[in-house]
């Protein structure tokens, strides 16, 4: 299934330029010309569109592109995928697969690429799009009865809800193939949360489905909840999110006098950044993995640096959380590790916006009013 004619590396650069200028028709033409030149549709999707979109993410993280430009480029790529899909219509000779983004997950393009690759491989695909609520997905499964669900999760903060969805899919007898960076670069969270299989990329996912999933998912290794959730720290943090964030913002204001002079909008941006930290911390507690949080913090440090925000503000935020979460020993351990990683990451050679880090479609904004994209 790999390309007859490979996609030339220069095409990716040219494509990136076009989508960066929002030139929909030219980008579509470029993709279709590659098809006409003998490249396979799968190669156009995975060796042209996918790498260009990864670069789009990096360009935003490095503050080279604005949010608007990033979204506009992604919208153009959506059109390109649609045009390629319309050009190539393989017969569906295999079973039926439902492809969906986890609830709250808005990075639909990588998932759309997976859906199209599966279609090209002969599966009948139902693509439910971004942020699919659990009940909607389950109703669909009862209605359609697919052979498997391919569930995508790009942001680890959606893992708790993805877990609920995985459990629900499996309890109605449909096995789940998990994918997307949210499940960890090595898929460790997919295994932890009971997915039947995991794949790092769209073509790997297609290969995995070729090998077949169980007709009926076997029972999860544990019943109910993972053991580490017994300490209730995740539940308490989520339940008291507003209160905790209020306390953290207060502590930050007391410790950093400039915060008190922020405008309402600057305070709001800071509150949003703190909320992101809280959500990643909650996700790290849910899967009991400090690395999830430290990677996010290191990545945020890079993003902030690119926007001229001093790293001290991030460290102050982490410290404020530690102070606020006195009764959360597990969370405090994670915060301490993150603070250490943060100190290391703000060294002069720290990379900015490396590809593997978790990221939000939205700026993780500044912790101080230096201004972020948008």
């Amino acid at each position: 299934m790999r390309p007859v004619t490979p996609v030339p590396a220069a095409a990716v650069g040219r494509y990136l330029e076009l989508i960066g200028r929002g030139e929909e028709y030219a980008a579509v033409d470029l993709a279709l010309e590659l098809l006409d030149g003998g490249a396979s549709a799968e190669a156009v999707l995975l060796d042209l569109v996918a790498p260009a979109q990864r670069r789009v993410g990096d360009l935003w993280a490095g503050n080279t592109w604005s949010v608007a430009r990033e979204h506009a480029a992604t919208a153009v790529s959506e059109r390109v995928v649609a045009a390629v899909a319309a050009r190539v219509r393989p017969p569906s000779v295999r079973g039926r697969i439902t492809v969906a983004c986890a609830d709250g997950e808005y990075h639909a393009l990588p998932t759309r690429l997976l859906a199209e690759v599966l279609r090209l491989r002969g599966w009948r695909v139902d693509f439910l799009g971004a942020s699919v609520p659990g009940p909607h997905l389950i109703a669909h499964l009862h209605q359609v009865g697919p052979d498997a669900v391919a569930l995508s999760c790009t942001l680890p903060t959606r893992l708790p809800r993805a877990h609920a969805t995985i459990t629900a899919c499996r309890s109605v007898g449909v096995p789940v193939l998990a994918g997307g960076r949210g499940f960890g670069a090595d898929g460790r969270f997919a295994r932890l949360l009971g997915a039947d299989a995991w794949a790092p990329t769209a073509d790997a996912a297609a290969d995995r489905l070729d090998r077949g999933l169980p007709g009926f998912p076997p029972e999860a290794p544990y019943t109910g909840v993972p053991a580490h959730l017994a300490d209730d720290e995740y539940t308490q943090l989520v339940r008291r999110r507003g209160e905790v964030l209020g306390g953290v913002l207060g502590a930050l204001t007391a410790a950093h006098p400039p915060v008190a002079s922020y405008s309402a909008r600057q305070r709001e941006a800071t509150a949003e950044d703190l909320a992101h930290l809280a959500d990643f911390l909650a996700a790290a507690l849910y899967v009991d993995d400090a690395r999830l949080f430290t990677e996010f913090v290191a990545w945020t440090a890079g993003v902030l640096r690119a926007r001229g925000v001093p790293a001290a503000s991030l460290a102050a935020g982490l410290e404020a959380f530690r102070g606020e979460l006195r009764d959360f020993p597990r969370a405090r351990r994670i915060l301490a590790q993150a603070a250490a990683a943060c100190a290391a990451a703000v060294g002069p050679d720290a990379a900015v916006g490396h590809g593997d880090a978790p990221r939000d479609g939205d700026p993780a904004g500044p912790l101080s009013p230096g201004g972020s994209g948008g």
Binding site: G22, V67, A68, R69, H71, A72, T74, A75, V76, E78, G95, G104, Y106, A108, A130, S131, P133, G134, P135, H136, I138, A139, L141, H142, Q143, V144, G145, R161, S171, V172, G173, V174, G212, G215, F216, P218, V238, R241, G242, E243, L245, G246, L249, R265, A271, E272, L274, A275, D279, G361, D362, G374
Partner: protein, 475 residues
């Protein structure tokens, strides 16, 4: 003979001899009890009986898997897989004929991965002795042995080899025929015996109940899907010089319908002229009906339908609003109120777009200028369905190429969440968010605003939320 008498099976049916294989393998991964513990029930049985414990485990596993799905095909697949894992070398489930008089079948071979599927006509199915009766579901018929020589080719997997024993068992449904189960054993394989037959009967009853419940569910679902299809947001048309993007998130997630709605109606060639004698223009509408869920969705659907009908004779937004108001006042259902905004789309040359807006008790649309400023045209107008003389607020908005007008429902701005979890999103945040969208295509704007709104909710519940962006296509 007693063994067949017990199941009401005519003696003549037992052509395969007393030979269902007994050495049924425990399904992979089960903790199979040692079969030696269980003495054979009938001394005549040539092979060892499966342990009672294994039979119990089989039925437990069957219960777990069969109760999981409300999908007919998934239930049929589970039935075939379970049967092939424990009862036979190959198992085929034949479903009752559909409206085209064809029966779908699903087949699983023990020890081979994958599922085979196909369909046969009623006539072909009838060539298998006993199958038509089993598929009819009523009157109830017993299991029936088949002479392997009578089996048509589609019954057995390719490369299966000659069958020694074939058993056709009806799947008794809950008042609805659920299909039939055909079990096949290879020639020369171990024999069937009493215990297995009892197990087959118990299993068939469970599988039949599951399949017929699923069939009933799917039938109701199909009706539901037809009824709600008109209530789902429409695919947006493509209009020269215009970009459209729409999004609807409803409060009732499984139902997918609610009281918010939007629509874009294109004029037909012979439609009446618009205001000022111009050529008929496309009309975009976004509205919000009082209430939530199915009841609100029905009224929203009626308003959309009324509008489409009214557009055949009337195009002036103000007049349309007044007519919808009268029809809502006449509506017998209580609380038939709605707010809405209508926008007539006129291309005015140079890639510019003029929107003639009529706002009836609805949040005023927001206008995103090329430089990122956000304007709000004046006027709210009055709610429809409450007073006899509803007056929409009228205004016109000019869009330069790349500029955009956002229609939205109050569910967007009245979402509670944020860092504290108790704060309302509010109009100002929506304006601020929209201001960051200058230069984005309409679809991307809607996606971004929807995403920001969902993040604001942070997992909390919400009202219906609708967004419709109309953008003058950049040159």
């Amino acid at each position: 003979m007693a063994r067949h008498g017990r199941f009401g099976m005519p003696e003549g049916c037992a052509r395969g001899g007393p030979a269902l294989p007994a050495a049924a393998r425990p399904p992979a991964g089960w903790s199979a009890g040692p079969s030696a513990e269980v003495p054979p029930a009938a001394p005549r049985s040539p092979g060892p009986l499966p342990g009672e414990r294994r039979a119990t485990e089989f039925l437990l596993e069957a219960g777990r898997r069969l109760s999981a799905s409300l999908n007919t095909r998934r239930c049929a697949r589970a039935t075939a897989e379970l049967a092939a894992s424990f009862l036979a070398d190959a198992a085929l489930v034949v479903l009752p004929p559909d409206e085209t008089r064809r029966s779908a079948w699903l087949r699983v071979t023990a020890g081979r991965p994958g599922l085979q599927e196909g369909a046969v006509s009623v006539a072909e199915a009838a060539r298998v002795p006993g199958l038509a009766e089993a598929l009819a579901g009523f009157p109830p018929v017993p299991s029936r042995w088949l002479d392997p020589a009578q089996a048509p080719g589609w019954l057995l997997p390719p490369g299966f080899g000659p069958a020694g024993h074939l058993l056709v068992t009806p799947l008794p449904g809950n008042g609805v025929a659920a299909g039939a189960l055909v079990l096949a054993r290879r020639r020369g394989g171990p024999a069937f015996h009493d215990g297995i037959e009892t197990l087959v009967r118990l299993f068939a009853a469970r599988a039949g109940a599951a399949i017929s419940a699923a069939a009933l569910h799917q039938e109701q679902n199909a009706v539901n899907a037809v009824l709600t299809a008109a209530l789902l947001p429409p695919d947006l048309p493509s209009i020269d010089g215009v970009e459209l993007g729409g999004s609807l998130r409803v409060a009732h997630q499984a139902a997918r319908v609610g009281g918010d709605f939007y629509d874009v109606c294109l004029p037909a060639a012979d439609d009446p002229p618009a205001a000022c004698g111009q050529v008929p223009a496309p009309l975009a509408v976004l509205g919000d009906v009082c209430g939530k869920g199915a009841q609100a969705a029905v009224l929203a659907g009626q308003i959309r339908q009324s509008l489409r009908a009214l557009l055949l004779v009337e195009r002036r937004p103000a007049r349309l609003a007044s007519l919808i108001n009268r029809s809502l006042l006449a509506c017998p259902a209580p609380d038939s109120y709605a707010t809405m905004v209508m926008a007539e789309l006129h291309r005015t040359g140079g890639g510019r777009l003029r929107l003639d807006l009529a706002v009836a008790g609805h949040p005023t649309p927001l206008v995103l200028r090329a430089d990122g400023t956000v304007d709000e045209p004046p006027g709210h107008g009055t709610l429809l369905g409450l007073l006899p003389d509803a007056e929409p607020a009228l205004c016109a908005v000019d869009l330069a190429p790349g500029e955009l007008c956002l229609l939205y429902s109050d569910g967007v701005t009245e979402a509670f969440g944020g860092p504290t979890g108790r704060e309302m999103y509010g109009e100002q945040r929506l304006k601020d968010a929209l201001a960051t969208c200058a230069g984005m295509p309409a679809e991307a704007v809607v996606q971004r605003l929807e995403q920001l709104g969902t993040e604001w909710l942070a997992g909390g519940g919400h009202d219906d939320r609708a967004l419709l962006a109309i953008r003058a296509r950049p040159r």
